[in-house]
C-alpha cells in the first residue's frame, strides 16, 4: 500500500497523538476521535480492568488499614505485667487474709499434760507431813525424779526457740 504524503496539519496531529498515547495530554491539537478509538482498543486488550493490586492500593490510600492493631497491641502491652502484678497481689492478699483468719479460728493449743506423781511420792509426802526424817530423804529423791519428768514433759511441749 502506497501511503500518501501527510500534509502539515496531519503531521502535527500525528505527533500530538503519539505524545498523547504516551500519556502526555498537554498538546492543544490532540485528535480526540483517534484518542478515543485508541482507548477503546486498549480497553479490549484488558487495560480497562482494575488490577487487584491497584484496587487494594487505592483502598489503602482512602481508608488505610488501621495501624491501631499493632498500636493497640503496643498500647495494651503494659496490661501483661500489670495484670500479672495484680494477680500476684491478689494471691498474696488472699493468702495473708487466710493466715489471719486461720489464726483467729484455729482451736487453742491443748495444755500440756503434766505427768502424774507416783503413788510412792504422794505417800512419802504424806509421811513427811507426819515428821519422819528417813522419809524426808526419800521424799527429796522422789521429788527430784518427779521434777525431771515434769521438766522433760514441758521441754517436749515447749521446745526452746533458737
Amino acid at each position: 500500500m502506497n501511503e500518501r504524503e501527510p500534509d502539515e496539519r496531519e503531521r502535527r496531529e500525528a505527533e500530538a497523538l503519539a505524545r498523547a498515547l504516551e500519556g502526555d495530554g498537554t498538546a492543544e491539537d490532540i485528535p480526540q476521535d483517534t484518542l478515543q478509538a485508541a482507548a477503546l482498543l486498549r480497553r479490549t486488550a484488558g487495560e480497562g480492568d482494575l488490577p487487584a493490586d491497584r484496587r487494594r492500593a487505592i483502598l489503602e490510600q482512602i481508608a488505610p488499614e488501621p495501624a491501631d492493631r499493632p498500636a493497640r497491641r503496643g498500647r495494651l502491652r503494659w496490661l501483661v505485667p500489670a495484670g500479672t502484678a495484680v494477680v500476684l497481689a491478689l494471691v498474696v492478699a488472699v493468702w495473708g487474709f487466710g493466715q489471719l483468719t486461720s489464726r483467729k479460728v484455729a482451736p487453742a493449743p491443748e495444755p500440756v499434760r503434766l505427768p502424774s506423781p507416783a503413788l510412792e511420792l504422794l505417800a512419802s509426802q504424806a509421811r513427811a507431813a507426819s515428821g519422819s526424817s528417813r522419809d524426808l530423804a526419800f521424799l527429796g529423791e522422789s521429788m527430784r525424779s518427779y521434777r525431771r519428768t515434769l521438766y522433760d514433759a514441758l521441754a517436749e511441749r515447749y521446745p526452746e526457740r533458737s
Binding site: 496531529e13 500525528a14 485528535p31 478515543q36 478509538a37 477503546l40 482498543l41 487495560e47 480492568d49 481508608a63
Partner: protein, 206 residues
Amino acid sequence: MPEDPNNPARMRWERRQLRKARRGDRRAFAALYEAYAGPLYSRVLYPRLGNAAAAEDALAETFQALLEDLQRFEHRGVSIWFWLARVARNKALDQHRRRQSTGRALASFQELVTPLQDGPENPASTLEQGEEGERMRRLVHETLDRINPRYRQVLELRFLRGEPRAACAAAMEVKLGTLDVLVLRALRAFRKQWSTAIAGDEENTS
C-alpha cells in the same frame, strides 16, 4: 455481585455495611469498596477517561466522597451503586477539567461503547460484564477485519499487543514519524468502521 443492584438481599447487605461503616468499621467500608470499585472503574470511569491513572484517581476521589458523606448518607431504598456512579461521573468530568494542569491525555470513549451497555447506571453481574466484554472484543475484531490490512497490523501491534512505538516502527519497517501518521490514519479508519459494525450488530441482535 447480584444481577440486580436493587435486589432486596443486596439492599439489606448494603444497609448493614453502611451502618457498620458509619460506626467506623473499616471492614464494612472495604466490603462496599470491593463490591463496587471494579464495575465503577471499568464501566464508568475508564470509558470516560481512557487513562488508567486518571481513572484510578477518580475512583479514589469517589470513595473518598463516600467516606466523607458517610454520616449524612441516607439509604433511600435504592442501591448505593447509583450514588457512586453519579459521583464517579462528576469526578471524571473534574479530571477532564484538570487535564491541562495534570498533563494527562484523556479520551472518553463512552459514546463508542454505550450501545453495548445496558446502561452505565447498572453495575451488571460478572456474567453480564463478561458477555459485554466478549461482544466488544468480537466487534473490535470484526472492525479490524474491515479496514486496510496494514492499518489493522499497526493497530494490533500498538494497542492489542501493547508494543512500544519504536518496536512498532521496526515491525512496520517505517520511521517513527511515518509510524505516527500510520497510527493516526489507522485509528480514523477504525473509528469510521466501528459505527458500521455497531449498527450491524444491533440489527442482528434485535
